[in-house]
């Protein structure tokens, strides 16, 4: 027994010593790109294959858990100087602050790529005249994605105001269809409704000035009645039985499945929902059956909430940083961004790129063109709504909106303080 065991152990040691040698044998450059695990990597894979064919450099994609944890993991890696060669991040300049861009990130300000990006996006990615993040992806929207076939049988169209919206929910319920589903547990846990509601209800109430005050910690989140109102509307829909029964356990997977089967009328979701539906139910389904509208206000159709394209950041303290920057230049060549928009259609951020939009995305674009759109408030603030999904779950459990707001406010200020933001 012991002899066998020791033989086994020796075999393992031998293997363990050979392992690094084997790894060292492939001396060609391999770049590592880190993405959140909710990312659809199909476009990356195609583009990276083309890059390998052209340069011999291969790129490995590493997916890390998405959400708050993703940001924390990346920050910890920066703190320990364990930089990936390049990585994807939520949009906006607050990421520059998070990662101390001026010390750690590759500066793209004067790069030719910038000239090919839509000016509004360039503005959005500029802080103190510097650009460190290259936008990647498309402008999309958090909002209500609805099943057109279901709406047709209900005899409904996209709502013109809040009362309409509630009437649709009522009709769906009467027909035995889940009126509104928001995934709570996985993927995009419980936050879409209220962030989409922010542009319709809160922005008009507090104005840009109000958001600037929030940025400087001069306005308290729990003292904005319009924000409390959004949460109350969500809670009231639940109380009225207009959300899925298992309001605390709805999963992304179940949401896709039931939506595809026509058992859900409306889903509070992000743009990636359409790509997931396409994988499960085919392109035709998404083209024919998926529509989109923003949360309507009491008077009109409401204001679309825009989620800007994500960004790619290149740490400049790695030995491969030049190769990584080259890769980004390659990725943003028109042929390659067209691959991106072919796999994941959306409103392009590259001026020369073309994309065939899904009808739901065309719906979003019509709001943008009418000037009825605003960027997600999360991307306009440097601090964060930390632990937001869990706090919203707590709201569903005890129905105490004011207490939830107080905690959202506390977390917001705590995070701002920890990030050493001015005013906190």
């Amino acid at each position: 027994m012991t002899r066998k065991l020791s033989k086994l152990i020796f075999a393992m040691i031998a293997m363990a010593t050979l392992l690094p040698l084997a790894a060292g044998a492939q001396s060609k450059v391999t770049l590592t790109m880190v993405v959140p695990n909710t990312t659809n990597t199909a476009a990356y894979e195609q583009i990276f294959a083309a890059y390998k064919a052209k340069t011999g450099v291969s790129v490995e994609i590493q997916a890390l858990p998405a959400g708050e944890e993703y940001g924390r993991l990346m920050q910890t890696r920066f703190a320990t100087k364990d930089y990936p060669d390049l990585f994807e991040m939520d949009p906006g300049t607050k990421q520059y602050i998070k990662f101390r861009a001026d010390e750690t990130l590759y500066d793209w300000t004067d790069d030719p790529i910038i000239k090919r990006i839509a000016p509004s996006t360039v503005d959005f990615q500029t802080l103190d005249d510097k650009i460190y993040g290259i936008p990647w992806g498309s402008t999309g929207s958090y909002g209500i994605y609805y099943n057109k076939a279901v709406f047709k049988t209900l005899g409904k169209t996209a709502p013109a105001n809040w009362a309409d919206f509630v009437a649709i929910a009522k009709a769906a319920k009467a027909a035995g269809i889940i009126p509104l589903y928001e995934a709570v547990k996985t993927g995009w846990p419980l936050q879409v409704f209220s962030f989409a509601g922010w542009t319709t209800f809160v922005d008009p109430a507090i104005g840009d000035a109000g958001v600037r005050k929030l940025e400087k910690n001069e306005l308290r989140l729990n003292e904005i009645p319009a924000f409390a109102d959004v949460l109350k509307r969500q809670f009231d829909l639940y109380k009225a039985g207009y959300t899925q029964d298992n309001v605390l356990s709805g999963t992304y997977e179940e949401q896709q499945e039931l939506f595809g089967q026509g058992k859900i009328a409306m889903s509070a979701q992000i743009p990636a929902f359409m790509f997931a539906l396409e994988q499960k139910f085919g392109k035709q389904f998404v083209t024919d059956n998926v529509g989109w509208f923003p949360l309507p206000s009491d008077k009109d159709k409401g204001i679309a909430m825009l989620s800007p394209a994500g960004q790619i950041l290149v740490p400049r303290l790695t030995k491969n940083y030049k190769a990584a920057a080259d890769l980004v230049r390659f990725m943003t060549e028109t042929a390659n961004v067209n691959i991106l928009y072919k796999v994941l259609p959306g409103i392009p951020v590259y001026t020369e790129a073309t994309s065939v939009l899904y009808p739901a995305q065309a719906d979003v674009l019509s709001f943008v063109k009418a000037g009825k759109a605003k960027i997600n408030v999360q991307n306009r603030l440097s601090s964060s709504f930390t632990d937001y999904p869990k706090l919203l779950q707590a709201m569903f459990i005890d129905g105490n909106i004011q207490s939830v707001l107080t905690q959202i406010d506390e977390n917001y200020r705590k995070t701002g303080k920890a990030r050493l933001l001015p005013g906190f």
């Binding site: 027994m1 152990i9 393992m12 890390l64 703190a79 993927g187 997977e253």
Partner: protein, 273 residues
Amino acid sequence: MKRSNLPNIILFVVCAALSLLVLTPVAMIAVNSLKNSRESALFGLNLPKDFVWKNYAFVLSKPAVVRGFLNTILIAVAAVLVTNVSAAMAAYIIQRRPGRISRAIYYTFLLGLVIPVSIIPTIRLMMNLHLHNTYQGIILYFIAVNLPFTIFLFAGFMSSVPKEMDEAAMMEGCGKLRMFFQIILPLLSTVFVTSTIVVAIAVWDDFLGPFYLISDYKKWTIVLNIYSFVSQYETNWGVVFAFLMLVMAPILALYFALQRHIISGVTAGSVKG
């Protein structure tokens, strides 16, 4: 004779029913690992409509599985070796040379059985020592957290090794290191088996340590690879179950092959105290 039959049958039925409680969940993983994403989400115990072997091919096409296994084996082997040898040496002195110093050190080690690791300061320490994200760092961590129990185990066993052995060896003029390694260590082989099993299981299962201490995914142990994989593919239970099967199967095979050693190893460690 006849009278005692009925109770035995009842007991057998009870045991069989309880076994089902253990085996059904395991069986559920097995059959669902071969179903497509929509069928596997129903978690049924029925056999798959079509056997989707592709699930396994898909999981194996990701480098995570093999790399995770190799990392875990490398870390476990190193941790087991160093823990065993250093614990045996320490326990030898603690048992053979009683006194205030030995006792103080022994009790200090035993503290580690109770007190949880202060994980965030450990990260900082690792960074200061430039051990963060290295194999050496995580191996040292595992040695440190497993030493208390191993020393406890060895110290308990050491008392059953007759002291005359050392004395005889000393007479022959053996050096102390040679004496320890040639005479004493071989006598401890049964404890080595026990502590190897206990430490290997601890390294294999531990999530907290690697979760906080290794951010470089290329050095992740299998447990972290499971965590990352599942959060990425949670909408497809078929491939998730396939991954879980791939991790579970070798361990369970090893368990069935060595179960007597494993069970007695685990209990020996616990009951001795």
